[in-house]
Symmetry: C2
Subunit: 352 residues, 2 copies
Amino acid sequence: MRTITWDPEIPVIRMIDQRLLPEELVFIDLHTPEAVASAIRQMSIRGAPAIGAAAAYGLALAGIQSIAQTSQALMRDLETAAELLQATRPTAKNLSWALNRLRKSALDSFEDGPETMRQRMVEEAQLLADEDVEINQRIGEYGSSLIQDGDQVIHHCNTGALATVDYGTALGVIRTAHEQGKRVHVLVDETRPRLQGSRLTAWELSQYGIPYEIISDNAAGYFLARGLVSAVFVGADRVAANGDVANKIGTYMLALAAKDNHVPLYCAVPTSTVDLEVSSGADIPIEERDPSEVLGLQIAGRITAPEGSSARNPAFDITPNRLITSFITEVGILPPPYTDTLANAVRKAQPR
Amino acid sequence: MRTITWDPEIPVIRMIDQRLLPEELVFIDLHTPEAVASAIRQMSIRGAPAIGAAAAYGLALAGIQSIAQTSQALMRDLETAAELLQATRPTAKNLSWALNRLRKSALDSFEDGPETMRQRMVEEAQLLADEDVEINQRIGEYGSSLIQDGDQVIHHCNTGALATVDYGTALGVIRTAHEQGKRVHVLVDETRPRLQGSRLTAWELSQYGIPYEIISDNAAGYFLARGLVSAVFVGADRVAANGDVANKIGTYMLALAAKDNHVPLYCAVPTSTVDLEVSSGADIPIEERDPSEVLGLQIAGRITAPEGSSARNPAFDITPNRLITSFITEVGILPPPYTDTLANAVRKAQPR
């Protein structure tokens, strides 16, 4: 069961509305690029690779729905849709990567006319989605060597099937180890403010039969300091050329706590998340989301912040490369120095 | 308005039920030591100094309600009540400190008979509560020198009037700076899982007219790394002889993030929180509370963890002394080495 699929008959993009989990598993149908953009913005779909696939499908849909009769007119319509989709969220690299890949597939068949371009874009979006699953499985295989039977690991945010087209990155590594018969226990960071850990990762783990316990993000240091954690696994929304990582808010503090206790922190990403044009984390734009995500909690039906309170809500932070033990990618496990190993990995992955 | 008071007429202990804030300000009357123990256990009252005062009043109440006709019989009844009160929560030093102080006041008047003992205990509990306010004001005065006009600071958990008899420790420092006319802006860690930051500290700051914004605990590192924070202020539930600090879960990770960015972290405590009999943080017992505190959240009426999930919920963690810039106490600001400066401070404070 994929997080996002394309139904060529209608055509329509079908995806899980992640805002309703774990209470309800509901699929929504998106008939326009505008609806896709809105689903990304409102986080019905989230997770860098899943956002990339959604944007790719969204641009293919824009191509189909364009009434352009020339290749040039179609490219103009695609550009408008790509801008709309690009503007939804600023941090994840996979969004621009997927849009660029779809743009290129259209341009490559420019001479063959708009109908061929439309067809090629749908094929390219499908290919991108299929490759995402395959890439994740390779990440899982490489990464599972880092998990031993009996390990307890910490996982932040959601990097599972829901964050990708299927299978997952960091959570895919844990899943592969489990499928290999290794006993692994997961401490699930709840991941404030949107609780992707307790809502989504816990839900996935319960589906897979992997034992877990939820912890508040600020408790990770307690378990690390007591020697109870073998490794920390995270994904990324964008990796700079030097290995600095933009990932879900809290990753930086988690990485500091891992480092302080000599516990390895692994960052599992497809190479499409690596942005070689950004030299360091300082140049990655960080999205700040609505304060209501921080203020909107209830405990037993009671409000948890005084009326009129304001909040700050950065959705990501930057973890400096010195805190990353290694990257797990579809072309292998990358040690430092990351300026070399990441560039090599991207080169190696591209001919695919 | 004190968090906890003694009404000698009935007699009764009256306290704010902190579980109902910020929605409602409700006072509850506690007529028995059992009711006081229950209020501490259920966190109607919390915060190390406030727990100390509650336990002192609770033991005084036990003395009054005992039907013992001899000093010896009264001491036996007091011992039973002290054990009940001591068993409520294991981490805060102030609990045993206050109970020992009340025990001593009873023993000191042992020769004068049970009626005098009862009277002395009520006086001692009142004195302890009055001194707590005075001590906090002195902490505020010393500590306010560490805040400059225009500073933005991070505060974890609640260390204000609600965590003490009145005024507060770390929050008292911020309050004093504000009262001195310094502009100070507070980033309030929401403090999962019980949200003492967004529920209690934000409420207090809004009462005092001090500007604040709430952040999720895992976002502190983001603001520290951007150079937006001048200092971090925390309290403590117990300080070991070497300066290791047991404080609300999350303090350790916050302290790591402060250190990584060369931002000072100050720990504001009355010397009654210092436990010279415990050599390091490894020997401080850490309470683990009910998983429902982690799992019991709702967003917009929806559950946030799958049915059947379990959680781990340590209420405190240990921050090693190397991460504490200095302690702010009622006898002054203490620099390292803490083994010396804490012992000196306790000696200096005791003759009071």
